[in-house]
Structure formats: structure tokens, C-alpha cells
Symmetry: C2
């Protein structure tokens, strides 16, 4: 297996990306190719004391930033890490592409240079949402690839999410829910009402609607939504969690008694913080593209890179892409 790593994506590139590549190369018996300016990447590898042969460097002279118009950037910057990565995937020269770079550029590059799985209308960006206190996550998709959605996209999100969870998490017949404003079948806007019908008529293990407040405590493995509300869901729960934890931190610094209390409950507070540490989840896949494309958080460090590579292995080995194509092709999923 040959896994491509965007050496220039994210806030800590290339140093942390290279560090993570070395961590992964030490453990996994896979070929890792880092894309980026060769000299700089090789210097980082030398700093890590790496002299093995399962890390190669693919020289790329350009980088796409978060501030560029994605589609334009991937078309113009043919020697950028993202454009080169997608092209190598397209040519069958690589099995997975992992990047902490611009989500928009990854999506645009995926669509324009790699292409969609046959039958897929729109790729979807996935997020792993913590099931608070359960040491598990649920797969939320789409989180922002398509803000103007159609019912069929939501059905396809369910199929893609279900296939991914089955292949990568090894969970048989994953439970799929639809993010909605109420639990009853008749709830929601026109988009949700139609999607509910399609999901009900499909082969999926569809458990019905789920409300925003129930996702963090859900039994569902996959929560289906459109890119707009998925993004709102994700950012609003994230914002609330961060604000609360910050408030907790500052409150517990006020006064000697509270400080002492905080010191004594320190371990427990750290356990709570750990609930939000999803570095081990690896990168989030962009499902629906013709190959394993994984997006890391922009602030990813070596540990996240390591786990992203680790997660890419079963993605490729279990042929998630091929299985999504097969599932999408099955008539029954479309209720025909």
C-alpha cells in the first residue's frame, strides 16, 4: 500500500507531518510518500534521524492556502501538493491521500482531478462526533461539502456512512439516523420528509429521526444530514463545549479554595478533556471520491498524522471505495 501525505497542509507543516510520517513508518509496513518541497522535507526527515526506505519524498513546488478559491487553485497550481496527490490517486499510483490542508481545495481537487465513485451524486465530508461518556463516536455526514442538498444526497450519505462504519469500525449493520427537528416521521422541512422516505425504503438499518440534542448520547453509528445543518451542528456543539471548558478552567482559578479543589479533582477534569481528544480517530474521510481521501484538522500534530495513517490502512484494505460503489448500485437502496 502506498499512502500519500500532504507535507505542506495544516498549521504545523511540514515539521509535524514529517514527524508523524516517521512514527507511522516505524510501526506500519506500508509505503509512505510525503508530498512537498523535497529539500525541506528531507531536512525534516534528517532531523528525525530517519534513514529507512519506506518513506519517499515526492517533490512539489506549490502549496494551496486556505485563502485561495479552491477550484481555481487546484486548476492553476498543478504542482501543488493537493493537485499532485489527487493526480497520483487518479493514475492508480497511490492508495490513499491524507492532508491537513484546505478542505475546500481537497474537495475541489477530489471532484476535478480524482472524480466521484460511479453513481455518487455528491461526495460528503465526514466528522466524528463524540458520544459523551461512552468512549465512542458517531459518524456525521455531510458536514459541509453540499450546502444545497437534495433528498437523494442524504440517502447516499447514509449508504456511504454505513459502508464506512461497517468496513473500518467492523460494526455489522450500523444504525443510521436522520438529523431533524423532531423525532416523529412527519417532522422537518421538505428535504427531510423526502429523505426520510428514501431512507425508510432502503436496505439501511434506519432508526428514524434524531434531534440535535440527542446526537452526543446516541446509539446511532451514522447521523445523516445536509452540509448546511451538519456544519451548524458541528460548530455549535464544538463552540459550546469549548466555551464551557474554558469557563470551567477560569472559574477554578478564582480563589484559593477553588484552586485547591481543582487540584484535587485534576485527574477527573483531565478525563473530561480527553473525551474531546479525537486525535486517535485519525482523519475524517471525504466519502464518495474515487479513492481514500482523508482530511486531518488544520491543527494536526505528529500524533494525529500517525493515527490518520493507521486509519487509512483498513480504509484501503477493506476496499471502502469499491464497497460504496457496489452499495450505491444496488437498486433496493434507491427504493426502486
Amino acid at each position: 500500500m502506498r499512502i500519500l501525505l500532504d507535507g505542506m497542509g495544516g498549521d504545523y507543516a511540514p515539521t509535524e507531518i514529517v514527524k508523524g510520517a516517521v512514527l507511522a513508518a516505524r510501526e506500519f509496513n506500508e509505503q509512505i510518500a510525503i508530498l512537498g518541497p523535497e529539500e525541506e522535507i528531507r531536512k525534516c526527515l534528517a532531523d528525525e534521524g530517519w534513514d529507512g526506505n519506506n518513506i519517499e519524498v515526492i517533490n512539489c513546488t506549490e502549496v494551496i492556502t486556505n485563502n485561495e478559491a479552491p477550484a481555481m487553485a487546484v486548476k492553476k497550481k498543478k504542482d501543488s501538493t493537493i493537485a499532485r496527490g489527487m493526480a497520483l490517486m487518479k493514475e492508480g499510483e497511490a492508495d490513499a491521500f491524507i492532508s491537513a490542508g484546505s478542505t475546500g481545495a481537497l474537495l475541489a481537487g477530489g471532484l476535478l482531478l480524482l472524480g466521484r465513485i460511479k453513481g455518487i451524486k455528491r461526495p460528503a465530508i465526514v466528522a466524528f462526533v463524540p458520544k459523551i461518556g461512552m468512549n465512542d463516536t458517531t459518524l456525521l455526514l455531510d458536514c459541509g461539502a453540499n450546502v444545497d442538498s437534495k433528498p437523494e444526497y442524504l440517502l447516499q450519505n447514509g449508504i456511504m456512512g454505513s459502508t464506512f462504519v461497517e468496513c473500518v469500525k467492523g460494526k455489522k449493520n450500523p444504525v443510521v439516523s436522520l438529523l431533524n427537528v423532531g423525532a416523529e416521521a412527519a417532522k422537518g422541512d421538505e428535504l427531510r420528509k423526502e429523505a426520510f422516505k428514501l431512507l425508510s425504503d432502503s436496505d439501511l438499518n434506519f432508526s428514524g429521526n434524531i434531534e440535535g440534542r440527542d446526537v452526543v448520547g446516541t446509539d446511532s453509528d451514522v447521523v445523516v444530514c445536509d452540509g448546511f445543518s451538519g456544519n451548524i451542528f458541528l460548530k455549535s456543539s464544538e463552540g459550546m463545549a469549548l466555551s464551557l471548558l474554558n469557563l470551567l478552567k477560569s472559574k477554578l482559578k478564582e480563589g484559593v479554595v477553588a484552586k485547591l479543589g481543582a487540584a484535587l479533582s485534576y485527574n477527573k477534569l483531565m478525563e473530561i478533556k480527553a473525551e474531546f481528544d479525537y486525535s486517535k480517530e485519525g482523519a475524517a474521510p471525504i466519502l464518495g471520491l474515487k479513492g481514500a481521501v482523508l482530511k486531518m484538522h488544520g491543527n494536526s500534530k505528529a500524533e494525529e498524522v500517525y493515527y490518520a495513517v493507521k486509519k487509512a490502512v483498513p480504509y484501503v484494505n477493506n476496499d471502502v471505495t469499491g464497497k460504496i460503489e457496489k452499495a450505491i448500485g444496488r437498486k433496493s437502496f434507491l427504493g426502486l
Copy 2:
């Protein structure tokens, strides 16, 4: 001023509603009319030792539950507290109607029996979202009245929210934002792009888009959204906050040291909990109806009822309804 109280709405009706009415009647020099089965309500009043004359009872023999189809229920149950309350408002016999009953029935009753303010396309349900650590709230609307929205509804939400904040909170020229998936002007779906233009061209103090994660820490007084994403926002942040606080509680009970720590930091933890205590915010208005209709949480107790009455007074005294009608009528708001 005559304020109607739905004596049969919510989980703790009628006891807590009556208790709250008595608290309010003792402090405010307004006429309070409780709607409900007269005998039962009078018994509750007697239990509270109330013998004043600024609480009256309006006998209603029916109640609409949360399980009924709202529009059907308000049409059929003409002697229900909600139908009677709306009818009294329509006839000019009352200045405000406060209920902890079914939101759907209140909205349907408001639309069918009371009617919309002239020029208003759709009423909107408001929520007060905590600005964490700032001892303040921002007004989020719509939170679920209209799940299928048009750009003009969003503009009108901005106008209604801005007018409410100006009148009731006394804040001049409130800052209005649009809930969206990104901060830049070009972000979002078709609905958001159009709404952004309308809001930009209006007289409102429009500050642009706001992402889900920034609402709890925002300087905005009003956050505009459609009913679907508003509902998702509200319930997902609520779910995250509750899960976190519960986790905190259970973690701090594990082991003697953590328990001692929690005991010492108890006051601070209570201060954090208080950040989420919005009983003092009173009830949330359904804006756009031809009169002051306020919705309390279903789990409201006497204190919430007291604050709802307290909040209704400036709503009526400042003629929010009349001012919304005037604002909506202003050409400039529609960018014409």
C-alpha cells in the same frame, strides 16, 4: 395591563403556574388572568393564601396537549386555554398571553386565531442563547416556526429581533448577524446568499455572517437563522452542554480525592451551572403575531412564571408589536 396566563400549560401546571402568578401579582401592579378549570385554579390560589383582586380566573374546560396536531386542536378545542387566550387577545381584551403549553399549538393558535402583524410573512420563535461567561444572552430566531424558509423571512427575523432587543433590553441599534457555515459574505446555501444581500441592504446594524461556534461568545444581539438550522443549533448546543455538565458531575463523584476536590470547588461549579439558568430571561416571544405571545419552557416553575410576567410588561409598554409593524413597513428594510 391585562396579562393572560395559560394555567394548564407545562409539566407543573396548574400548581406552579398559579404560584408564579401570585408572586407576580404581589409585585407588579398589573391585572393577571389565569385561564383554566375555574374550580381547580381557585383551589390553587387558596392554597397560596391569595385573596387579592388583581388575579382573576377565566374558566376554560379544555386543554391542548403536546401530542395533538396543533392546527386541528386549536380549531376543535374552542374552549381550550390556548384557543381562548388567543381569542381574547384578538378581541383586544388582553395585552399579553403567556403559556408553557405546546409550542405548535401556540403558533397555530397565534396564526389562526390572533393573526400576523401586517406585512409579516411568517412569525418566528425566539430563543435566548447564553453568551458564556458574559452574563448576557443573544436572541436567536427563528428556532423552529418555519423549517422551509425564504430569504425575506430571514430579513424579517432580523427586523423583528432587532426591534425586540431595542424595546425590551433597551439596547440602541442592536447588532444583527446571520448564522452561516462561514464568515465570508459569499458563504452558505442559496437561502443564505440571498438573505445576506437583503440584510446588507437594510437599515439594520448588520455585522455579516456568524459561524455556529462563535454564537456563544458573540457580540451580536440578534442571530438570524431559518427555523430548521435554528432548531439544530439550539438543541445541539443544549445537548452538548448538558452532556458535559452531567459528565462533570459523575466524574467528580468517582473516588475520595475527586469528591473532596469537587466539594472545595463547589461554589465555582454552581456558578457555571448558573450560566445556564435562564429562568430570569422570562419567556421567549413568538414574534410577528398581532400581540405579545410568550412561550415558557415546558418545565417552567413559579420563578419562571414570575419572570415571564416581568418580561411581558416592557414588551407591552414599549409596544413591540406596533414598532415591528412600523419597521416592516419601512421601504428601506426591503432594499427597495
